[in-house]
Amino acid sequence: MIDRSKIPLPRKEFSFSIPEIKILKLHNGLEIYFVKKENLPIVQLSFISFAGSINDPVEKYGTGFLTSLLIDEGAAEYDSLQLNNELEKLGTISSININHDVFSLGILSLKENFERSLQLLSKIIFEPRLEQKDFDREKKKILDKILQLKDEPSYIATTNFEKLIFANTKYSNPEIGNSHSVNNISLDDVKNFYYNFFQFSASVILVGNITESETYELFNKYFSQWKSPNKSWDEELNIITRPKKSIYLINKKESAQTELRIGHLSKNRFADDYYSCKVMNTILGGQFSSRINLNLREKKGFTYGVGSSFHYNLKYGYFGIATAVNIQNTSEAILEILFEIEEIRRNISQDEVDFAKSYLTKQFPSKFETYSQISKNISPLILYSLPIDYYKDYTAKIQSVELKDAILSANENIFPEDIIVLAVGDKNIIVPQISKNFDIEIIELDLDGLKST
């Protein structure tokens, strides 16, 4: 028998260097964040523009989202089905997404089909048809999707929580819009949004089994008409006041669980204490072995899983805890979460900080394994204008966080007095529990986040 009683020690650490990221600049100013990766015959490309949904016209929320659905419904000589057939024949996967900050178009293709795929992508970007019949169909699809989303408890919870957090800013509306705002959108609005697309700065991320000279050649061939504007969103920051501590409820009859969202507005991505805040949140709720998950799942059994995170967009950030709990334990779960929020400000141990730093730094190499992971890691460089060598000292920055920094960051980023709680579930079971434990008025909202009367 071998002695199993001691945990085996690691062997000598392997050296790891992150893939080299280069910026290739075309004559027209378009910048390509380029990583050569040769282990498979794959090329992954993303075209990222700052034309996000915050540019939706007032009362027409969802315009950007609708544009993102319509843009590949036919381009140049191809109608919608023909265009998609061309991509399907190649086995190329195209993806078009929009969030509040950016509009992105991507393709994942085999190396042998990359040129043709890029050519098709350029047609989508420069020559979309944007026709009325396609617009009508896609608009109806979105309206019916909005109807279906009323069935999704986690979607209802997240979107309404963000609506409360971001109050009257442009971040308070979901990208897809609402039934009222989408009804207001016309084809001309989409055409304007598409035109707008070319007013914002954009960059390309290319990770693939392809050389620099091939890249220059292909982009000069298919993206020469791009005129690089340098506008980025410069709207004044609305000053949002944090709503005072409150509990909100959205009634979902006969729900099997309660969806909970708990948190408040926070600093944005540019805060000086970004790294100590990351270490602190890792301890609080950022991974499986965090305080909140071990308490609510592994000790109490209230949930299948719970996590906390700082969500960043270009201008704002918020701190949020998300979970779904057994409806009978709703109030107890809220109390435990509020306890952990208070507790992290009072004490953190050196062991916890060491664990978090080890977790964050040692997993770093594995975040650069796939083509799409590398691409995903490059996008924050573009979004937050971070330097190209940003990742070089990433682990050193995490390592430099000390115990006192973690405690300080808990006190400077988490505010129990500002916490808002949103519960989505069966009112008849939730309200009596909360009334028993909290001396606070419960504010009931409808599915669209409006106060119920």
């Binding site: 071998i2 199993r4 009683s5 085996p8 020690l9 690691p10 062997r11 650490e13 392997f14 282990n39 498979l40 015959p41 794959i42 089905l81 998609n84 057939n85 399907e88 024949k89 190649l90 086995g91 190329t92 996967i93 994942l108 085999l110 169909r137 109806k140 699809k141 019916d144 999707k145 109807l147 279906q148 009323k150 069935d151 999704e152 408890p153 979902k252 006969e254 099997a256 669980q257 499986f288 072995s289 071990l294 592994e298 059994g301 949930t303 299948y304 779904a324 709990v325 057994n326 664990f355 080890s358 730094t361 040692k362 997993q363 190499p365 594995s366 394994e369 796939t370 083509y371 799409s372």
Partner: protein, 422 residues
């Protein structure tokens, strides 16, 4: 297409206790990954004890003789690794990937729970994980729109004496009643090295890895006590129609037929049939019901094949004010049209190309590659079957697709209608 990346250079051997070992070295990675399949899934359960294979998977993360309750996750995460497990009808898997210098750690953890789980078992751990699993069932099925549809379909498609009759997560009333003895008996019946296969992938020295695997696993006694799963032949004599009211805005209709099992002669043709029917914008269902007629909000079909049997499934959500019957009529029109007028070369080629590229894309992640090696080893006894598998699809002719459609989709089926509660 160049198939070079699909050729996997591996080494397979067996320990004396019966544990199968497959090594796949890739020195270009900074990580090492382990993936263990135990040949037990929900098909090994008995009525009244459903969901146990999955609950047991949870118990495997609750520590073992030398690992404290929260230790398994904590040690792997502290090393910067990823880990999880999953349970299907036919097997249960566990996997970790860590920086390559932590190979000893993962072998120690996996062997400790393979050999020495029971000494650390407590009622408290079981009660806690029953609560967690009941919340998993609520979160993933009961509190999701249409979330109970699949278990309603399979419990009607398969007779109650067939091991695919119940859902992998189990019936709630069964989960509530599990006891410590159930855990002990299950472990002693199924969690033998002789009932498992271990794949190691990534950056390691082969001689060293073999020594370490020998060191940690060879002392665990092997036994063969797993009873054979009995899966009686299934045939629906008539179509079964079920209506179910749910908290949904739009109704949805589902169809399920018995079809071929995993790697059966018609399995690949049925996969391609589902691609041709519903996967892309140009597929027949999407083109007709979503694009042209605009009567459906979504439509999907797939061949769901497993060890003992397979099923072919279609579901669709009608647009508001469109009747379910109209959707049904259109679906059957498209199926009959395909059987009668055939499949053209272009749509078959499109479907094959989509599958082929997806294969290459899936090789990006070592965890996925080694899980695939275990998958092929389990079903085909040959881990390196990527090229064989792809060849199955390349060999399919238009006639094969038509024959598979007419063989399976012209029989009786289960029809489920999920209707909005009034």
């Amino acid at each position: 297409m160049n198939k070079e990346p699909l050729k996997i250079d591996y080494e397979k051997y067996q320990l004396e206790n019966g544990l199968e070992v497959i090594l796949f070295q890739d020195l270009s990675l900074p990580t090492v990954a382990i993936n263990i399949w135990y040949r037990v899934g929900s098909a090994n359960e008995k009525p009244g004890k459903t969901g146990f294979a999955h609950l047991f998977e949870h118990m495997m993360f609750q520590g073992s003789e030398n690992v404290p309750k929260e230790g398994h996750f904590k040690y792997i995460q502290e090393a910067g690794g990823n880990l999880n497990g999953s349970t299907s009808i036919d097997r249960t898997n566990y996997y970790e990937s860590v920086p390559a210098n932590y190979l000893d750690l993962v072998l120690w953890l996996e062997s400790d729970r393979m050999g020495y789980l029971l000494p650390s078992l407590t009622q408290e751990k079981l009660t806690n994980q029953k609560d967690v699993v009941m919340n998993e069932r609520r979160q993933r099925y009961e509190n999701q729109p249409y979330g109970l549809s699949w278990e309603k379909i399979f419990s009607n498609l398969f007779t109650s004496n067939h091991p695919y009759h119940w859902p992998t997560i189990g019936w709630m009333k069964d989960i509530e009643q599990f006891e410590l003895d159930d855990v002990r008996n299950f472990f002693k019946t199924y969690y033998s090295p002789a009932n498992a296969s271990l794949v190691l992938g990534g950056n390691f020295d082969k001689a060293n890895a073999k020594n370490l695997i020998e060191k940690y696993f060879s002392e665990i006694p092997g036994f063969n006590s797993a009873p054979k799963v009995i899966a009686p032949n299934q045939k629906l004599n008539e179509t079964i129609k079920i209506n179910f009211e749910d908290n949904v805005q739009l109704p949805r209709i589902y169809f399920a037929w018995h079809s071929d099992r995993m790697f059966g002669v018609n399995d690949a043709a049925l996969d391609l049939l589902s691609e041709i029917l519903s996967t892309t914008k140009n597929s027949r269902f999407q083109k007709s019901l979503i694009f042209e007629k605009q009567i459906a909000q979504e439509i999907s079909s797939f061949q769901y094949s497993a060890k003992h049997s397979g099923s072919f499934l279609i579901y669709s959500t009608p647009k508001p004010n469109i009747s379910i019957d109209q959707i049904k009529e259109n679906i059957f029109f498209e199926i009959n049209n395909l059987i009668k007028h055939g499949v053209n070369e272009e749509e078959l080629l499109r479907a094959k190309n989509g599958l082929k590229s997806a294969y290459i894309y899936s090789l990006q992640k070592i965890d996925v590659v080694i899980d695939h090696l275990n998958h092929y080893n389990y079903f085909l006894k040959e881990p390196d079957s990527f090229i064989y598998d792809l060849q199955r699809y390349e060999n399919v002719t238009p006639d094969d697709v038509i024959n598979a459609a007419s063989k399976y989709l012209q029989s009786s089926f289960v029809e489920l209608r999920v209707l909005p509660k009034k």
